[in-house]
Subunit: 453 residues, 2 copies
């Protein structure tokens, strides 16, 4: 039995069924869609992606055709680990019941973080977590009543939604308590993001804590108030503060959580409760560099984890080896990506390190269409081990992070990285790829640091 | 002392001088330019790159400003290892002389392969190896006398030159004895390249050996004749058969060559002759997968090898760890890249393997501008170790080869590859990046093969 029919749940259910055809698989989903791309919602809201249907990788009927028993708009209300049953209720029809299970996959995803401030539950305040949120938000925008949008939180999702609203011609303000947007980047890289956001005509209010949502007599949000005394008028407020794992049911049922607040799982995605598996935004993963357990809500992990759980349930063997914090996004034409640890994360994990940044071009500098790219590397002192990398630049820049992610995954030193046999031809890279130049400069920084020791 | 002032020689000279300021560095260059991008020549011929000067990374005067004694248009005619001198002659002035050295860097590059057929030395037959070749070829094209071009050889340089001529509106025919162009790709991938070349209006004559160049009474090439009896009329013939290391001087001097015909060097780029270093297209490199020594003429290796030689001469320590056969090119809008071993190379190296190919998209499938990409993987039987990968697709495809190159460099198995934390967001990749899908499919092929053993 699977609770949650999106990336993790859908993958687990279909893999288990594929491996073991006589398995009865019931999948509960409280929303109206299965297996959709939550990450695509901002692009549907902006109109970049034309139809909501395009976001759906597999419909309930497609899952059914694969032999799954899919129960849509059905919320699981309780899990009884001793009796091996779940209770559920039909959100539309109102019926309820219970269902037995041998093995359970907990894949409930995440819920948007809501700052505990007055007015946050008013009408006109939206999260953007599930497809139904996106539908509601888009209906608001389509209504024509909205002119001013305030986005609370300048992380990935906050900026993506802000850009989507701006593309639709609205006045958009993003407010965040950090000094630069997307706080998982180093501030010097974050500054490029801030500049790109402002260049799009989005107002960026950084270093300001939200203290309240001002609510009108109609019960609807009308402004966001900050600790610094600002009043940001809003016809619509969107929460872009990130998400927390949706673990309420698990906690009540006694499925143990980890130190991060996500469900604790082993490498096979099995929880500490017998016969209970978990995958996706609700679980915690091991960061391979820091060793810490953390919740990383990202569709690509959810799919992999769901696949691993499904293979194991179906009688196979697979493991999820952890994450290294790779992420990518774009703000208009500015691409940004990161992998490994940021400077702040490296410090928190106890590493001593040096950094190096280089400015180069995406193709040979003399090639028409050469675009600027900046790569920053964080390397451990003495060993020169690559701990983290950040890329910022014009189109063609950010996917270079993948090569660096593989370097970090394999615990390469920057000295090793600079010798890599990466692809070179003038339309694709300078003769020293920016990745190699950055490694060279980081290596020089490591050497200079060793001399100073 | 450095013989050759392009990528390898220039890098070696400048690194040595940088590390050791009291070193007297003399650099001989028989051409008219130093440190230029040979790989950029086709794009200058086509007009994509506007000026010849743009191809030059560092002029003789820039080298001189760094403290190098640069002797342009000066050909080294002999090396005396016992007396530690070289003899030279001035190609313009006609003078000659000799010069002593303590340490020598041999960086003479490569020469185009010329099929030993009648007429190959006629007027109107051009190689495209050094910048002066490009200048001569471009002058021919600019003269307006040329309408029909035959390119002998359908490898990287052959196709790049063919496209350059086609962009200039000429009738272009490429003739090659292989079944598909760029024989370092598997034939199924090569077929995509063939289709793209033909779609550009270039005639492709495959599976035909060139037996002669027909020469007119004016001493100029007028057609290329093939073993199959074809006569391909040509106002101009370009040799795109690849290159061989330029080792004549070394052979005469007694600097030992390796089994591949390139100069044998150790990891520090030192030859088997005391105090003699070598770098660039004229040396052989170790292929990290096959263990074989081979000559790979590529600017990115030349730069790295030159840097390594220069650091060692300057009193530092650096090594060149070998190559894995990464290469990339584009044919109009088709991008192709490879790394590791092709199927044929894997077989020759004694590996048993399985292959898997997947068709996917460069971004989320629903994202506007999603482009087709195909990735082929070659994985060792049983172990599942990734031996090679090939990428073919529309813009945004081919640089993904870098992540795969790093996987191969680190001897990852396809099972490990499929779990990698690569960057995901809808504008950059499907939720399963094509690299990961290909690894998943290759892993399934390895598993199926194990079951059949």
């Amino acid at each position: 039995m699977v609770i949650g029919g999106d990336a993790a749940g859908g993958s687990a259910a279909s893999q288990a069924r594929k491996r073991c055809a006589d398995l009865d698989v019931v999948m509960f989903e409280r929303g109206r869609a299965t297996s959709y791309s939550a990450c695509g919602i901002p692009y549907w809201i902006s109109g970049t992606v034309e139809s909501e249907a395009a976001l759906i990788a597999r419909t309930p009927d497609q899952h059914r055709a694969m032999g799954l028993d899919v129960r849509m708009r059905t919320e699981v209300t309780g899990i009884d680990l001793d009796r091996r049953t779940v209770t559920w209720r039909d959100l539309d029809g109102g019926g309820q019941g219970s269902e037995p299970f041998d093995e359970l996959v907990y894949a409930t995803g995440s819920v948007p973080m809501r700052p505990p401030v007055p007015g946050i539950d008013a009408d006109g305040v939206y999260g953007v977590q599930v497809l139904d949120d996106g539908v509601a938000l888009r209906a608001e925008l389509d209504s024509g009543r909205v002119r001013r949008v305030v986005v609370v939180g300048g992380g990935y999702i906050g900026l993506e939604i802000a850009e989507a609203c701006r593309v639709r011609g609205l006045d958009v303000t993003v407010v965040d308590r950090s000094a630069t947007p997307v706080g998982t980047f180093d501030p010097d890289v974050g500054q490029f993001i801030a500049d790109a956001v402002r260049a799009e005509g989005i107002e960026l209010v950084m270093g300001e804590e939200v203290v309240a949502v001002d609510v009108g007599t109609d019960g609807r949000a009308r402004a966001v108030l900050t600790a610094g005394g600002r009043e940001l008028p809003a016809d619509l407020v969107v929460l872009g503060l990130g998400v927390r794992p949706n673990v309420g049911l698990a906690r009540e049922a006694g499925i143990p959580l980890g130190i991060s607040g996500g469900i604790a799982v082993d490498a096979r995605m099995h929880t500490e409760a017998e016969g209970v598996w978990a995958a996706g935004d609700c679980v915690e993963s091991r960061h391979r560099l820091s060793g810490q357990r953390m919740v990383v809500a990202l569709g690509t992990h959810a799919n992999k984890q769901g696949r691993v759980a499904g293979i194991n349930i179906g009688g196979g063997y697979a493991t999820f080896p952890g994450v290294i914090g790779t992420a990518i996004t774009k703000v208009c034409d500015l691409e940004v990506a990161r992998t490994g640890l940021s400077s702040e994360e490296a410090q928190q994990a106890g590493y001593a390190f040096v950094t190096a940044s280089v400015d180069s071009t995406t193709t040979a500098g003399y090639f028409p269409g050469a675009q600027p790219i900046r790569i920053k590397m964080i390397a451990e002192r003495r060993s020169g081990r690559l701990l983290g990398a950040q890329v910022v630049g014009c189109p063609g820049s950010a996917k270079r992070i993948d090569a660096l992610a593989v370097c970090i995954w394999n615990e390469m030193t920057v000295d090793e990285v600079l010798s890599l046999d990466l692809a070179y031809a003038p339309p694709f890279a300078p003769v020293w790829d920016p990745v190699l130049i950055a490694a060279r400069k980081a290596f020089e920084a490591v050497e200079a640091d060793v001399r100073d020791l």
